[in-house]
Assembly symmetry: C2
Homo-oligomer: 405 residues x 2
């Protein structure tokens, strides 16, 4: 027998309904109490009590009279506060650091990014630089009356979210690295800002779900992205499939040529050996290390490939076609298992999509009788950073901190 | 933005807590009202009200005084009723039909199975024979005071569960086939028994979760099974991942030799071409059609392979080793994507596990640095039938039909 459902208490009910009110305003836009009650199917009286609590906590604000053309006495309109809590997102990339702040309405209120050579780095100095950027952003939004509700850090690697701890990041060269030490260095009043972290591919997939502009947003998605390696995130019903050890989504290590090239993971013929950034650069006759030295900064190497492909470089076009075909084989296996509504190419792959996608889709069409569409992310490399900041905002909307528990 | 959470009403709360009480007795065994209250963390008074409603609906029964050694006045003990609702499960196999009835306590109270050549059959006569078996089982358990709460049919193919309808079953040779017509032919008083259906691999995976005897039962599982094709079911947090079109779990069509043999699905090098029952029989020099004619009945062809392997037949051993290696390649891809707690070999594959598993595990070990264990189902070919009957029981436990809504 599996676990019995947990019984619900009146307090659970209240918290869930506070969240329903906040989501109704977030999803449907500013509205009167009566309109909110209509949206969520609770009585006007019940909604009024919940709204009072949310106003008191500074999560909702009242705006002047609503639509002047409406019949009857114009009521005040409820909106999410733009000077209450904000979410801080941070990204530790191989080539850069970035931090942003997003308010409850989902607007980016401050953002900084700097080039930073983080590959094979010591975690200490990198985290010190990151803390400095966070203080900068916090200072800016503090002047506008916003106070951070939490910080979420996007990391290219395996993350234990509860600690939060980077378990390992081959690209950064980091082993076990705790991130909770950041909390005391962020310049907040009491040094206790909640700090979270997640894998960049996961946060990129969530950003696409929340901000991708798809109507309705597909909830069952294979989101493929890349920085150096090839990663993927799987959304099931709008929630991340994380796996037993947090390893889910390792599309880069799906065998596509089972008797092929040995891979750093110990396997053979993994997708990353044919469609990863380094493999593609080498196949195009370019030395990854030299290119990295000549073109530092995020996305520069992928940018070089995109430039050459756009200019009609036959070698690069052939190499990207071949990588696309291998990607198509891996996607065939993944789609057979998951049957998602959509496949999304995000991160650096979005930029190479014009050249990878035709060959990948040709493989899918050859191998499958029906298949989901392959979409290209509009957020591209911004996904993980935005996903990190918005994950803090979502946590506020899902369990509004009103002081009462 | 994604959908807002639905607010909860007092009625939702009551229904959830009725389920919590019923699950507490189902999972923890017979207990007094006070012990149930302790198990689920509600007050004794709240539990008493819920229990009265469940007693009235015939879902719980009171048994004589509890442990006589206990201190104080012995209270009555609550148990699940063994003469209330029962779940009917049915299975339409390629070679057989089976029906069983399971009571709320999870005991099989009646079961019939008959050989039946259903491959490339007309649905009408098959469903008529199935209805006859259901009437037989219903009659038997009716004499013991049990009344069917519903029927769930396990089908080797793609099922639209809401209708319920077989969308297509290549092995049965069925196209679109509605199963709700069964309801009127089952011999129930008013001809309105709720009829459901699901894919056999899905029901086999649920049966393993509920009845597999693993403590604690793994909730994130890749459950691989086979009748003629190779199917899989993916459990995420104890729930089936169904996919957008209900196609999730098509492990048989994961490419394991991408430039290899053409497959009936239109693809190339699919796992089924190397590890499917027909492929294995052919590779062992056996004609699948002739073997089927000589050995009718469920599991006969797999039985032949198992007999020969057990007798040391070198050709069969070599063929099963090779099939196991290809299975290992497909599992590497699936485990990389899903990172499950466990892989389970069920159905016909369970019987061949002694010969498939070593080669499959060797591939996994070569290709992955850490990986989940591969378990062999103890339910084997009984899984889908038991899963079907238990899914009806689970629906009763999850939303107890007490008459009040």
């Amino acid at each position: 027998m599996t676990t019995a459902p947990r019984p619900h208490t009146q307090a659970d009910l209240r918290r869930r309904n506070l969240a329903a009110v906040l989501h109704a305003v977030a999803g449907g836009g500013p509205a009167s109490r009566a309109a909110v009650a209509g949206r969520i199917g609770l009585t006007r009286a019940a909604v009024s009590t919940l709204v009072d609590e949310l106003l008191g906590a500074g999560l909702l604000v009242e705006q002047g009279p609503g639509r002047s053309g409406a019949v009857g006495r114009p009521g005040t309109v409820l909106a999410l506060s733009d000077s209450g809590p904000c979410g801080l997102g941070a990204e530790i990339g191989v080539d850069h650091l970035a931090v942003c702040a997003v308010d409850l309405r989902g607007r980016v209120r401050a953002r900084v990014a700097v080039d930073s050579a983080n590959r094979d780095s010591e975690p200490g100095p990198v985290l010190a630089r990151l803390a400095e950027l966070v203080r900068l952003v916090t200072g800016r939004v503090g002047a506008a009356g916003l106070r951070p509700a939490g910080l979420c850090v996007a990391v290219p690697g395996l993350v234990a979210r509860d600690a939060p701890t980077v378990v390992r990041s081959p690209n950064l060269g980091w082993g076990l690295t705790r991130l909770d030490s950041l909390a005391g260095r962020l310049g907040t009043a009491d040094g206790t800002l909640p700090v979270g972290a997640d894998n960049e591919a996961n946060l990129g997939a969530l950003a696409e779900l929340w901000l991708g502009g798809h109507e309705p947003a597909p909830l069952d998605v294979l989101h493929v992205s890349a920085e150096i390696g090839i990663g993927a995130a799987v959304l099931v019903g709008g929630r991340l499939l994380r796996g037993e050890r947090g390893f889910a989504g390792e599309l880069g290590h799906v065998p596509v040529r089972p008797r092929g090239r040995a891979c750093g993971c110990g396997g053979r013929g993994c997708l990353e050996q044919y469609a990863g950034e380094e493999a593609v650069l080498r196949a195009a006759g370019l030395d990854p290390a030299r290119v990295a030295a000549e073109r530092p900064g995020p996305g520069a190497r992928v940018g070089l490939l995109a430039e050459r492909a756009a200019a009609g470089d036959r070698t690069v076009l052939r190499v990207l076609r071949s990588a696309g075909a291998d990607l198509g084989v891996a996607l065939t296996g993944a789609v057979s298992l998951l049957d998602p509504q959509a496949v999304v190419l995000g991160g650096a792959l979005a930029r190479l999509a014009p050249w990878l996608l035709p060959a990948a889709e040709q493989e899918l069409d050859r191998r499958m009788t029906g298949r989901p569409g392959v979409l290209v992310s509009r957020l591209g490399p911004d996904g993980p950073l935005l996903g990190a900041a918005h994950s803090v905002i979502r946590a506020v909307l899902d369990d509004p901190p009103t002081g009462r528990r």
